[in-house]
Amino acid sequence: MVFLEFEKPLEKLYTQLEKLKQIAQDGDIDMSDKIREVEQKIKKKQKEIYSSLTPWQRVQLSRHPQRPYTLYYIEKMTKYFVELHGDRCMGDDKAIVGGLAYLDQQPIVCIGHQKGINTKQRQLRNFGMAHPHGYRKALRLMKMAEKFAIPVVVFVDTPGAACGLEAEEFSVAQAIARNLYEMARLRTPILVYIIGEGASGGAIGIGVGDRVFMLENTWYSVISPESCSSILWRSWDHKEKAAEALKLTPKDMLQFGLIDEIVKEPPGGAHYQPEAMAKSLKKHIKKHIKELLEIPIDTLIQQRAEKYLNMGVYSIADQPSSDKTP
């Protein structure tokens, strides 16, 4: 188990617990009372820590190295998953994965950013930062979903789109723009889950949907707190302040009406009980697919459009402009 800075008090308790379990096992001694006591302490401490997370701590949790990623959820939740590869043009980007599966009796197309689970994998997956061909692969799968009337389930988990020569040369900007455009009018339901990091165009590039949900320990904004700090404060040292200012937590996003719901995580975060997380996520997805499938497709697309057209706060001044509209 990897513990973050603010989780250090827990680390001690977990070490204690491991020791007790070891003693019980080695000496065949009944330690159950002691063990229960430590477990209670852990529960209490967890509650204390996680009920008062700062925005920055939540950002850290969203990046926890043991947090479940897209492929974990797909494997745990679905049956008959076939991963599909390539954008039919440039190649196969490993930072975005996707394929066909069954969610119990419901066929789905699933798409998501994929981070690596070890050093080698992290490089291969480019830390979940997708290239243009990743976005174009995602689009190909969405168009396939539309063709065969299959709902799309998207998992967003990215620190941003890929940055480099290739990303610019093959225009990741155009790839993202095209996806926004096609997702806006895709004639099949789209569910979006922010399961970790939701940064900038890289996130929304596969993130336009009928319903958008955030897991409890995730963030979603136009820029990462670090980059925001470096641009606005002209130093990397103000990431905590930037995290606060950006109002990037699920609670803020829900309050602004920019997402539809927050999906609860197990105590301490998804990585403590990934299987339980996958199970409740599956239930959540099934419920919402069922609801969306009942809406006539033209209505669904109209509602999707209205949802996004309503996003944005501005004021309308009293003084007449040169415009003559009522």
Partner: protein, 294 residues
């Protein structure tokens, strides 16, 4: 931008004192270093007569260049709101106030309706001086209303992009404008109306990654920086120098993302030519000389 501030100050000084100091009439080209009179620069649509450098200009200049004389500003009553109470080194409200004073624009985008060679159109043009031409809720809303106006009156849309990208002080609201404007573009498309994206120096970030790259026809001015991540960020990421001409209009043209690179002095004629074809259903039949040999 120094030359431009000087130029603007020059204009203000000129009106204030009636008799302008001669040096205010001269502008230095940042590319070739040549000096040119303000009057001549305007005649050349703010391009250098010597090296053809395209000076950065604002919405009002573009309106003057593109429209046949008269035009009407639209949606000026829509103003920004500091919805997050955002404070970095300065409060967002202060940044907004300063931007308004500095630019004479009410936001980073200005919308106007008029005619291009007698074709009624709506043009939305950005002001880079207004918080880097950044996209917040007002830009999103003004573009959406511009599209509504196009649909109501069967007009084509032209967006002149010039932007550093998202407006960080509006955080996720800013991000969502990418989706909002794009959703609206699908409605313009459903109405069968043309959209011309006209990219100028610089067009980057969330603006590039949404409506700027989605024109039925993508036009760019020569030498314009067009990118998702800016050159500084890319250089810092890859830790080496960027190839010559990387992320320019010419570079993206070669890569297949830009239809036409057009000199600003020819831009109006080119746009009109494109609209004559794409918008033909709503225009009077065009009299063309027969080019066939019979």
């Amino acid at each position: 931008m120094n030359w431009f501030r000087r130029l603007k100050e020059g204009i203000q000084t000129a009106t204030r004192f009636k008799k302008p100091i001669p040096e205010d009439l001269w502008v230095k080209c940042p590319k070739c270093g040549d000096t040119v009179t303000r009057k001549k620069l305007e005649e050349y649509h703010h391009t250098c007569p010597k090296c053809n450098y395209h000076f950065r200009i604002g919405p009002k200049e573009y309106f003057r260049i593109f429209f046949d004389g008269h035009y009407t500003l639209l949606f000026e009553e829509i103003h920004p709101v500091d919805v997050l109470g955002f404070v970095d080194l300065k409060p967002y409200t202060q940044r907004l106030r300063e931007a308004r004073e500095k630019t004479s624009s009410t936001e980073a985008i200005t919308v106007a309706q008029g005619k291009i060679q007698k074709i009624p159109v709506v043009i939305a043009a950005m002001d880079f001086g207004f918080i880097g031409g950044s996209m917040g809720a007002v830009m999103g809303e003004r573009i959406c209303r511009a599209i509504d106006r196009c649909i109501e009156e069967r007009m084509p849309l032209i967006i002149v992009s010039k932007s550093g990208g998202a407006r960080m002080m509006e955080a996720a609201f800013s991000l969502m404008q990418m989706a909002k404007t794009t959703v609206k573009l699908t409605q313009l498309a459903d109405a069968g109306l043309p959209y011309i994206s006209y990219m100028t120096d610089p067009t980057t970030g969330g603006v590039t990654a949404s409506f700027a790259m989605l024109g039925d026809v993508n036009i760019a001015e020569p030498g314009a920086l067009i990118a998702f991540a800016g050159p500084r960020v890319v250089r810092e990421t890859i830790k080496r120098d960027l190839p010559e001409g990387f992320q320019t209009a010419e570079f993206l043209y070669e890569k297949g993302f830009i239809d036409v690179i057009v000199d600003r002095k020819e831009a109006k004629a080119t746009i009109a030519q494109i609209l004559q074809v794409l918008h033909h259903r709503h225009l009077p039949t065009r009299k063309t000389k027969s080019t066939s040999s019979d």
